[in-house]
Amino acid sequence: MALKDYKDIIHRCFRCGYCKFTSDYSYLGFNCPVYSKYRLESYSPGGMMWLIYASLVKGELKPSKHLSQILYSCTMCRNCSQECKFKFNEDIVNILKAAREEMVDKQLVPQIVGQFLTNVYDYGNPYRELKQNRDNWAENTEIKHYEKGDEFLYYVGCVGSYDTVSQKAARALGSVLLKSGLPFGFLGSREVCDGNEVDMLGEKGLFEFLKEENTQIFKELGVKKIVTLSPHSYNALKNNYSNEFEVFHYTQLLRDLVKSGKLDVSRGFKAKVTYHDPCFLGRYNNEYDAPREILTAIPGVELVEMERTKENSFCCGGGGGNFYTDILGSGKDSPSRIRVREAHDTGANILAVACPVCMMMLEDALKAEGLEDELAIKDISEVMNAALL
């Protein structure tokens, strides 16, 4: 919906501040990653609602680059929508997205956001990487391209395909899927950005274009079932694409494969593990159990929870394109560093993730915190791969 469709709702925000907290008002800190970092009211969900109303509805403020910087600092983690006590809570993130669409129309997006969008349009990924390099992560593996008749399309996404840290997860999941015996394949150079972040950044036209392009490829290849590495891809494909494809996040598929005995994890993996819920799997799609069911099924894994967990999970700071735009920035108060410290406080030696974006954000934070000797970031697929017979 466009911003004008929310004109009777935007001014209803009281700025009461429930949106900044977890459901239990955790003393560890505010759960809005943006407010947690900047600590000025303008960077809170309520502050953003008031600024959107003042600048893009009422005309009291001229839309500016600083406004754009504020609006694009949001990671779209949905904590605000979840914690807001009012009936319009579901609309908060949608209003922000609609406001960003206006900023795109007014050509007021931060330069780095413009670069992200241009890169996706020109190259099909935000990194300006060549399409043919989208195969590189699978080099020297037996993971093959999707062929007609394969049961699953393994949709890897931009981050898993190109980011060197996250490629480990892409390969591990491919390896696990090979061991399961499921017929599957990936698209490689034919894969195009799923558009989740493009949608979150307010470039509706480009998102529609990407959706169409991907859908056309899926149809050409006769794809019926898709398993995604990234919760971001999962969110886009499951909720914003045509419903003719059955879409799974990989943790859901692996959980079922373990339960049905198609994956045997009896080799085990001895570690004290804490798990970080990705926003686009948890708060967006209400999947909190599958990753935990996998971890607890692995002999030797001791699962310990962080203070902020499941629906109260604290965003890594990478959503809404921030993994690339870095508008939230670094420093000890950056969400990813706060989250790594929180994980470290559990006494775990593995911080398990189920998202390539979280993986790259938290890996960087781990180095910045100097905790590499005490804690390792591993994707659940890596943990599982090590546990398989």
């Binding site: 209803r12 700025r15 429930y18 900047y38 303008s42 600024l51 009422k58 403020l61 600083h66």
Partner: protein, 457 residues
Amino acid sequence: MDIYSPLVDIVGEDFTSNHEEELYIYSRDSGAQQPRKADYVVAPKTVEEVQQIVKLANKEKIPITPMGGGLTLSGLAVPIKGGIVLDMKRMDRIIEVNEKSRYVILEAGVTQGALQSHLEKNYPHLEHSMPDAPPMATIVGNVVIQGHGHLSVAQGINSQMVNGMEVVLPTGEVCKLGSCSISPYWFTRDPLPDLMGLFLGWLGTTGIITKVSLQLFPKPKFRDLLTFTSADLDLLPDFIFDITQLNLMDNLFIISQEWPPWAQGILYVPIISAQDEEEFKLKIELHKKLLRKYEGKITLVEGRHAERMREARLPVPPVTLGVMAADAKQGGGFEYTGGILPIEKVPEASSKAVEIAHKYGQPYLLGYQLLTGGHSMMCGLAYCLNRADGEDIEKVRKALDESNKLILDIGGVLWKAEALAQRLMVQRMDPNTVKLMKRVRKALDPNAIMNPGNWSD
């Protein structure tokens, strides 16, 4: 003089702003008061930074308005004469909990929610008196405005629960008050000259509180509420007297509102708690037994309505009902006259408040809070407003003005009064009291930089 750069030197660029966007947000709140523009917004992290800001402001004679959660609704953290808004919420350390002497030392930016969560996790047998406000309200903001909490009937208002404080004076010196001024322990404010009175209720016009020691209380194992209803407002003073003679409640809400329809009539909601089940049941029974005296006039509500009240009012802080009521106009604005009254004046105030609400086309919305064992009552004459409708806001301003005058005319005082309402009080105040207040402020704040415009200076 432009002090942006010196402010950046003190707190850093990330926490200093003179951008229009920040100034817009810090120049207004969710109440009906006119926006008033700030010139700078600064969020300090340490008491030393606060000191440097105060010294800079003194040198340049620039006003400072301290801000906690910014949730007074009456614009008390919105600067009247421009200058710096000092957002204190980065000073958010819970420094120490003294379990045996039951107090917590914390910085000025600690929110009600954070303290509640900290105690639940680490000291589940202790609690603090939590106001009805959203959890974003700060502990210090609440005591500065002499707010109340969910233990205010049993234990007094929250400013009375302050054992000690650290203050940055308007001239930049740091000062400790209470036992902490002579001891490492922040355990009592007596028996010493009560200098904390120089900062509580002064709405940030006499200094900046940077730390407080707040009393904690035993958290009960059993806690419930009863809902009584009555159509006869005139019974209220006698009933309040009788129920407080029992001396067994933690808290007492009284609600009278037109919307939602199921909540109509006068609802009395005593909150009752105990550590022991037998004691708890007895307390409940004694409250029910009280109704015999008022047979047919005040009755126990049971079933679905009682459950709804339980859902709305038993959580600390209460959520549902307040949120429903504040959003009645779907307009994102809300303000109320907080009239503190002698108990016997409540029926008169209430009848006239209904007239004022109807005169301005508002459904009446009256929320009462018994204070300090039944010595007074806070009557909230509340008005929802539509921020998108200028005429509606103006109507609410007029209704608030009439409500303020009503409370004062019948002998009450106004709680967390907006600047105009403060003026109404000062006009009626003993002239020598006004002079004394001015002398105190002049002595503490020679350059009149602290939240000027408040208390009718």
